[in-house]
Amino acid sequence: MDKPLRVLIAKPGLDGHDRGAKVIVRALRDAGFEVIYTGIRQTPEMIAAAAMQEDVDAVGLSLLSGAHLTLFPAICKELKKKGLKDVLVFGGGIIPDEDIPVLKKAGVDGVFGPGTPLQTIVDYLKGKLAVAR
């Protein structure tokens, strides 16, 4: 039997609005993932250290404050610094369309805006991570 996939959901920066992150945590739990949640106001270093110690398959970032162009790339950089080159990074929140290519270039594989059906994110993770394994 396949072992559950592990995902870290993290909220970087000063944004305290974590309902979206909690909805994702719950949806992934119900889809059979083992989900770890960092809580709010995390630095890129804290998120990368947690991802490393938990040996997760993916890291999901949630940010609604507008600081994604600074924080998401900083987290991708920290993950690489820790040797986590295979970890899938995805993100969501209030992210303008024109920012998406910039984030993708920085290492964020998937970006999901408000209103994305939960099943879309579950299918995305299962698809990507099945290939990775």
């Binding site: 989900v35 938990e54 040996d55």
Partner: protein
């Protein structure tokens, strides 16, 4: 990735104290992945010297927050701390929300602290079958103290007593009267009892109730231990009582090493580890071979549980 899970290399790197190697080794051991037995064998050799502290108690008592306080206390003494936090897996989806880590995130970037969240993955009793394998990785990493937080427990989850050296039972001022504390089960296994949330009203009454219940006589297990379980009040919120708790934890560790009980407990732990191994290999492998056809045959009374069970066990 080639060489990523190479056992000799991994063990060497874990011994050197590399967190990334420990993390990878934990995944291999916990998932029972290919090569896990060879790895586990090496890690077992380096085990047996750290104090394993079990933190148990009902959900919401403050086990994770108190664990965070203990980490800070041990770090002030320059001790290396390993933490394993278990939360329940869903019996429906197989998924889990491992929510303990967010209470200890302040220690995330401390190189002297390694924290791993584990899902119970079908085990009843507050832990996970892979718990010993995980402990041995952290022992090999060089941790001086290993804190093991159980799933939030009810009255009946006592597995931690045969895994940890010292069991900390955490409760709150709202836990109920001394009648609750007189029941068999979880209340019997504590080496140290803590009334957490001492910043709330009712702390003194809760401490008195616990002491009264414990004072009625030794539990069957405790009679042999020659250790009177103390009752302390702490507040993970304010830090009140944490230094006292840490000193009692040290006292119990000294007691275990000076009396013969430490060795007796270690033997008990090995017996349990063996039991978990057999449960994973024999029982689970037999259960995995139960097919719908077998169940259909039972419904139509072509066969019975005894006949099927015997066949599954013998067909290994």
């Amino acid at each position: 990735m080639p060489g990523k899970n190479d056992p000799t290399d991994l063990v060497k790197r874990v011994r050197r104290g590399e967190h990334a190697a420990a993390s990878r080794a934990l995944t291999v051991v916990v998932n029972d992945a290919p090569g896990s037995e060879a790895l586990a064998k090496e890690f077992f050799k380096s085990s047996g010297s750290a104090q394993k502290v079990g933190v148990s108690g009902p959900p919401g008592a403050g086990k994770s927050s108190l664990t965070g306080r203990l980490i800070a206390h041990y770090r002030a003494q320059k001790l290396k701390v390993g933490v394993l936090m278990v939360d329940p897996s869903s019996s429906i989806s197989g998924g889990a929300f491992l929510g303990d880590r967010l209470r200890v995130m302040e220690h995330a970037t401390d190189p002297g602290v390694f924290i791993r969240s584990l899902a119970s993955r079908g085990m009843i009793g507050g832990l996970t079958y892979a718990i010993f394998g995980a402990i041995h990785v952290l022992e090999t990493l060089g941790c001086d103290k290993i804190l093991i937080e159980t799933v939030g427990t009810g009255q009946d989850e006592v597995e931690i007593a045969s895994v940890a050296d010292t069991v900390l039972y955490v409760t709150t001022p709202a836990m109920g009267d001394e009648i609750q504390a007189m029941k068999a089960g979880a209340m019997e296994i504590g080496d140290i009892f803590v009334v957490n949330k001492a910043d709330l009203a009712g702390k003194d009454k809760a401490v008195a109730d616990l002491k009264a219940a414990l004072g009625l006589g030794h539990s069957a297990g405790q009679a042999m231990k020659a250790w009177e379980p103390p009752v302390l009040a702490t507040s993970a919120k304010t830090g009140e009582g944490v230094p006292e708790l840490a000193s009692v934890l040290d006292g119990h560790w000294t007691h275990l090493r000076k009396s013969g009980e430490g060795r007796a407990r270690l033997k008990g732990q090995h017996a349990t580890e063996l039991q978990f191994w057999i449960q994973r290999r024999v029982i689970k492998s037999a259960l995995d071979r139960v097919t719908d056809k077998i169940l259909e045959d039972m419904v139509s009374r072509k066969t019975d549980p005894g006949s099927v069970g015997r066949r599954l066990l013998e067909a290994r």
